[in-house]
């Protein structure tokens, strides 16, 4: 039973981790927290359904198209409109605005698209696999694999490329980076685009499990947020750890502690982290 | 009698140390000057003393009590008031509200304040002070609409509201018109005569030399000299530290 829970927990955690990493990148580059992150997952999911089921594109092009469009909408447009308008006023107005934005996305989708849950096929065929006592599907390994590839690529990008290093510099000290000649605005734009791509990937992984629905992002966004805080808001590796932890906690709580209070347990962990180690498990203290 | 004293006060920001163990003591009723070139750590010294910054080492004593690293609100209520070099105001509050805020927390209990309807005493005191500072016509103006000099005066007025035992003035005359400056100096002297102990950071040498009874000089976070104005003026180390920075009159 434990290996079953582990594999499933990691598969779920991989999705959370990708979204949580998006959170962290936004925070690092712009010191903003996006409360509409869940809806940022819903939008690419609906785009995929739109391209695949409505426009009848083949599967792979549909997903690629959805990723490109969401990178444009959630990265570029978002940066040029909301972020540019609000960043000077600090985090709180942005938090409130993104809460409103979340409502806007959900309500628009119910009215203009559909309030129903939609089925969406997975990227690879779902074949049942067995490992010891654990029975799972190829999809779980695929989730872990995709998340690992995306995260490794991101890591290499941040550590090895010039752009990535500039992003790191901005994360450490925005003013100093600006003085050093780094175009901070461009870095923020880049972070938003990367975030959009990350959530689009996680949407493609989440859609077969979560079903495409206007409120699918509620749970995903919250869980990813928990993950980012538990792991550490200012560390990509923290968000990764947090995501996996949240996935595992969720499944192990349901299996061993209580099904009725399963969403409460992760919150207790979260509140404990906030109160006793606000920087998160792997996070570093920030000098603000 | 020492009313205020620091022993080995240290403050460092990561690798940079702004204060490297400063010992200063001020006697009751003194008008003490603190000078030094730009970046020598004068304002950092004030910030550490008033609790705005956490000290990295050393101690601060006020009337015999160790107040090191106490909260700024507690230190204020113990009777240390200060003004600021760079303006720190409540931009969308009226001048009168700024003044009243300066005193309300030092009176009564928190819940008592909730039930306060009558603040006439404070209002009267605030208006008197504003009158003296010649800005009483601005009482209902938002403080953000005041000129720099007027804000400076308001800042000065606010520190006087509570009648603090020890007043820290950070460049009080900087940016104030020349005729007002003379009056301010007189008022500072009057305050001092009334029994207030005052520490002044000043750029303007004339002001310090005329005003203060004793002066300490900071340079790069260290006290390099201390004494009467005459002693300081003739101190070779001080002259060296100030050499070439004299023309920098801006604040």
């Amino acid at each position: 039973m434990i290996e079953q829970l582990l594999i499933k927990g990691l598969s779920l955690g991989a999705i959370y981790a990708m979204i949580a990493i998006g959170f962290c990148l936004l925070w690092q580059s712009s010191r903003l927290v996006n409360f509409a992150e869940g809806e940022f997952v819903t939008i690419p999911a609906f785009l995929m359904v739109f391209f695949y089921s409505v426009l009848k594109l083949p599967f792979a092009p549909a997903i690629i198209a959805a990723i490109i469009v969401s990178a444009f909408l959630l990265g570029f447009v978002m940066k040029k409109t909301l972020v540019d308008a609000l960043i000077a006023r600090g985090n709180t107005p942005f938090v409130v605005t993104t809460i409103a934005l979340g409502f806007l996305v959900r309500d628009s989708l119910t009215v203009f698209a559909t309030p129903e849950a939609l089925h969406f096929p997975s990227m690879i065929p779902q074949t049942p696999l067995q490992f010891g006592g654990a029975m799972f599907s190829s999809l779980d390994l695929w989730n872990i694999f995709v998340a690992a590839v995306v995260i490794v690529c991101l890591h290499l990008f941040i550590r090895k490329t010039k752009q990535g290093k500039a992003l790191q510099a901005v994360a450490q000290n925005r003013e100093a980076a600006g003085i050093m000649g780094i175009d901070v605005q461009k870095m923020i734009l880049m972070a938003f685009v990367i975030n959009a791509v990350l959530v689009a990937f996680s949407a493609s992984l989440a859609a077969p499990i979560y079903m495409v629905k206007y409120d699918m992002g509620n749970e995903l966004g919250l869980k990813a947020f928990y993950a980012a805080i538990i792991g550490g808001f200012n560390q990509v590796k923290g968000a990764l750890l947090g995501g996996l932890l949240v996935g595992l906690i969720e499944i192990f709580t349901a299996a061993y502690i209580s099904t009725q209070y399963k969403s409460g347990f992760v919150l207790i962990v979260l509140i404990a982290v906030i109160l006793f180690k606000p920087e998160g498990i792997l996070g570093t203290k920030e000098q603000l | 009698m020492k009313v205020f004293e620091t022993r080995g006060l240290k403050k460092s920001f990561q690798e940079f140390s702004a204060l490297k163990g400063v010992d200063i003591h001020v006697n009751e009723g003194e008008l003490f000057g603190l000078i030094g070139p730009n970046g020598s750590g004068k304002t950092t010294f004030f910030n550490c003393v008033t609790g705005t910054l956490k000290c990295s080492g050393g101690n601060v004593f006020f009337r015999g009590k160790d107040i090191t690293n106490k909260g700024p609100d507690a230190i204020y209520k113990m009777g240390i008031g200060r003004t600021f070099q760079l303006i720190e105001m409540f931009p969308r509050m009226t001048v009168l509200d700024n003044m009243l805020l300066a005193i309300q927390e030092s009176q009564g209990s928190m819940f008592g304040r909730l039930l306060t309807m009558n603040e006439d005493g404070n209002v009267k005191r605030a208006l008197d002070l504003l009158g003296f500072l010649k800005i009483s016509h601005l009482r209902d103006e938002y403080s953000k609409n005041l000129s720099y000099g007027q804000q400076k005066l308001l800042d000065f007025g606010m520190v006087l509201m509570t009648n603090p035992k020890l007043i820290l003035l950070d460049e009080p005359t900087c940016g104030v018109e020349a005729e007002m400056r003379q009056e301010l100096m007189n008022y500072i002297r009057d305050l001092n005569k009334q029994g207030h102990t005052i520490i002044v950071i000043e750029h303007n040498m004339d002001v310090v030399m005329n005003l203060c009874t004793r002066i300490a000089v900071l340079d790069a976070g260290e006290k390099i000299a201390e004494g009467t104005p005459e002693e300081i003026q003739n101190n070779a180390q001080v002259i060296e530290a100030y050499f070439g920075t004299e023309e920098d009159e801006e604040c």
Partner: protein, 326 residues
């Protein structure tokens, strides 16, 4: 001069209060339809919540998403203890319990950053919801609690919607009056100072933590009292009425109305409770319009829709702002 001002201040206060009370009670007299009476009562309840939240958020600058949880605590206090203790005891009791829990929740979490506080309060709301849902033996679980009685004084029962609206209106009036009083007392000045320049306020002796804690707890207490009014209004409560979504709604309510403006929060409550009715033609689009308006208001009108009222006021009277609080 100041003596005269003092006298006028009292006069103004009494006149303004009477006016407010009459306005709040007015629907009981003019509306016959129980639907409009219900809307009026709901608007009053929302006003209580948003007025409290405005103190927490608009004045002390903390994002709280715990409002739905506190509302639930107040409502269940009323529903569970109402039959033994009576409405008049449980109403303030619910507020008091929420206030105390607010203190307990705020005390450790106010030192963390804004968005962390938002998370702690989200967590709180979710946990309250889970408890209400799962502790069926006490709370009735998802079945909720039925037949919540409307209050009575002696032989006179406030059973008709019009009579109950009077109760709601009077409670609303008392709470708004207290908030108005507090915001005009030195507390209001301290709240404002914290919002404008926290560091400087602290250097003037303002105990940031105490004031923020009080602001948070007052917001909680207000939501608790509002919860106590909800039960008798619907005659029924269940946990879904206190789900997290409502916390978000309350937050937007204050933002759309006008953060940090006493009258702004009230306007926000009215917009949320009543405007959907006047925009009947847009029925299904209303939530979209509201959310879009909230986004646009945050960007272009940071002071909220009350700044539109200011604009009208300026056109009418030539004065800068319609400001009820200092």
């Amino acid at each position: 001069m100041d003596k005269i001002n003092q006298g006028m201040r009292w006069q103004k206060m009494v006149a303004g209060s009477l006016c407010g009370l009459v306005l709040l009670i007015l629907p009981s007299v003019i509306f016959k339809s129980q639907y409009f009476l219900y809307l009026s009562s709901l608007a009053c309840i929302y006003m209580i919540v948003s007025c409290g939240l405005n103190i927490t958020m608009g004045y002390a600058g903390q994002i709280s998403l715990a409002q739905a949880g506190f509302l639930g605590i107040g409502a269940y206090t009323g529903a569970l203890l109402g039959s033994t203790l009576g409405f008049w005891v449980t109403l303030p009791l619910g507020g008091l319990i929420a206030f105390v829990i607010g203190l307990g929740l705020g005390f450790p979490s106010l030192r963390v950053k804004t968005h962390f506080l938002a998370m702690v309060t989200i967590g709180f709301t979710v946990i309250v919801y889970l408890v209400l849902m799962n502790e069926q033996q006490w709370t009735g679980g998802p079945y909720g609690i039925f037949n919540i009685k409307k209050p009575s004084i002696g032989p006179f029962a406030f059973t008709s919607p019009a009579a109950y609206h009077i109760v709601v209106a009077v409670v609303t009036f008392i709470l708004l009056f207290f908030a108005f009083w507090a915001l005009n007392s030195p507390w209001g000045r301290a709240f404002k100072a914290i919002r404008e320049n926290e560091g400087r306020a602290e250097m003037l002796g303002v105990s940031i933590r105490n004031y923020k804690l009080m602001a948070f707890a007052i917001g909680a207490g207000y939501a608790g009292v509002a919860g106590g009014l909800i039960g008798p209004l619907f005659g029924y409560i269940d946990p879904t009425m206190f789900a997290l979504g409502f916390s978000f709604l309350f937050l937007l309510m204050v933002v759309v109305g006008g953060l940090g403006r006493f009258e702004g929060a009230l306007l926000g409550a009215i917009i949320v409770a009543i405007l959907p009715e006047t925009l009947r033609f847009a029925e299904q689009y209303y939530p979209i319009i509201f959310a879009l308006a909230a986004v646009l208001i945050m960007i272009f009108m940071p002071k909220g829709s009350v700044s539109f009222v200011d604009w009208v006021y300026k056109k009418l009277t030539g004065k800068e702002e319609l400001q009820l609080t200092k």
